[in-house]
């Protein structure tokens, strides 16, 4: 039900997530923001077990923020991904593991490159040019396989994203409706209308 996508392009990462909060057959909220801003150049979309999701996402957000306040410089996307991965891996063999899937998109200010990581609740981390979680991934990934260009401009990237969103709307039984779309690049994070 919960769908999220992300893709990289020339100097940016686009992260998108649906804004529906549903329980069983009822839509409770239609404007929920499922993308946390961990630092000025780091975005994280979350999905999974209700409750676990926000708990874990906020835990990550606070710790990443603490790091950059304490240590003057923010964590680079690769280091943040490693920290998150370790937290999930440790949680996995605890009494009550977090069941949360994530898409971590960020701009590395020291190497001037966009980075995207697909993370699942087992602590699997892979760096990818584009990614998706949820049922929507079945449609989005094939489209992105065909149309994704890592050197695409932001307009082209957003067009690709729209393609994915439209396909999910067309084919998935429970249409998520609205999406929140955020972009991170060298200038930071901003929200865009798709």
């Amino acid at each position: 039900m919960e769908t999220s996508f992300a893709l990289t392009g020339k100097g940016y990462v686009i992260v998108a997530a649906d804004t529906t909060a549903a329980r069983s057959i009822v839509k409770m909220q239609i404007d929920q923001d499922k993308i946390k801003e961990l630092s000025p150049h780091l975005l994280m979309a979350y999905s999974g077990e209700p409750g676990d999701t926000v708990q874990f996402a906020e835990y990550v957000e606070r710790n990443i923020r603490l790091y950059q306040i304490r240590n003057l410089y923010p964590l680079r996307p690769a280091a943040a991904a490693s920290w998150i991965r370790r937290s999930l891996a440790e949680s996995l063999r605890s009494r009550n593991p977090y069941s949360v899937n994530l898409l971590l998109g960020g701009y590395d200010a020291s190497s001037h490159t966009p980075n995207l990581y697909w993370i699942d609740y087992l602590g699997t981390v892979v760096e990818v040019p584009f990614a998706a979680h949820g049922y929507g991934s079945y449609f989005a990934l094939s489209l992105l396989d065909r149309y994704h260009d890592p050197e695409a401009s932001l307009e082209e990237g957003l067009a690709n994203l729209k393609r994915c969103i439209d396909e999910v709307a067309k084919r998935l039984v429970v249409n998520p409706g609205k999406y929140k779309v955020k972009v991170v690049d060298k200038d930071g994070i901003r929200e865009v209308e798709i």
Binding site: N71, L72, Y73, L75, R76, A78, A79, A80, S82, W83, R86, S110, S111
Partner: protein, 262 residues
């Protein structure tokens, strides 16, 4: 005066001083000099060894694999940081071990080399603890940290027993550090290359060291650069043979006894 306030680190004197820390710094001023210079493409460290002699067995340093250094002044703290120590050797060993552990813990958590300043901070936090809690004496060690990280590139830090640290372009700790510091102030230029920095370090060392000429017996030397091909920092602590070769290249090598007699 005010000897009554000496014995405990964890209390102030009436004048507001912490005598134990000052005494620790006094101990360090008798130790072998360590000199560091920051260049635009690297950092250079040199140190004067005090533990020398014919009977000293340094075979492991000469041939051995390892990371270089005789284990007295220069230590590899992490693949991106070299530490130079001055002061009580056993205290220094303990701090070096702690620094190495901290660096590896960071690597475990973040899969990334620890930023140089962060490593210096961790050590300083520990040293400061020993001036406030536990009633234990402070570490009688000053360290120079020469390192590289992607955030601020090449950096040189100095930390002292009080747990205070600062970043430097060129600095000196240990014996004769005043002389060396003023020499560095005169001769340091902002956009030195690493080769020029090596020359500067060796010249200043030759003027401040107790012995008359430089040689691998009394000198430890290390350089931290960035390998463009491997895209990673390169830490090199010179082996004795390499130090001698370097000194010859710079024209600062000890002359043969025989030729001098002639």
């Amino acid at each position: 005066m005010a000897r009554r306030y000496d014995s405990r680190t964890t209390i102030f004197s009436p004048e507001g001083r912490l005598y134990q820390i000052e005494y620790a710094m006094e101990a360090i001023s008798h130790a072998g000099t360590v000199l560091g210079v920051l260049a635009k493409d690297g950092v250079v460290l040199a140190a004067e060894k005090r533990v020398t002699g014919k009977l000293l067995d340094l075979s492991s340093a000469k041939e051995g694999g390892g990371y270089g250094g005789s284990g007295e002044k220069m230590f590899l703290l992490n693949s991106n940081v070299i530490g130079g120590v001055a002061g009580i050797t056993s205290d220094a060993n303990s701090l070096v071990n702690y620094a190495r552990t901290v660096a590896q813990q960071h690597l475990l958590q973040y899969n990334d080399d620890i930023p140089v300043e962060l490593l210096a901070q961790r050590l300083c936090d520990m040293k400061q603890g020993y001036t406030q809690f536990g009633g234990l004496r402070p570490f009688g060690v000053s360290l120079l940290y020469a390192g590289y990280d992607p955030h601020y590139h090449f950096q040189l830090y100095h930390s002292d027993p009080s747990g205070n640290y600062s970043g430097w372009k060129a600095t000196c700790i240990g014996a004769n550090n005043g002389t060396a510091q003023s020499l560095l102030k005169q001769e340091y230029k902002d956009d030195l290359g690493v080769e020029e920095a090596i020359g500067l370090v060796l010249r200043v060392m030759s003027k401040t060291m107790d012995s008359t000429t430089l040689g691998s017996e009394k000198l430890e030397f290390a350089v931290l650069t960035y390998d463009q091909v491997a895209k990673a920092p390169k830490a090199k602590i010179y082996k004795p043979a390499e130090i001698d070769a370097l000194l010859r290249a710079e024209g600062l090598a000890k002359k043969d006894e025989d030729t001098e007699m002639k």
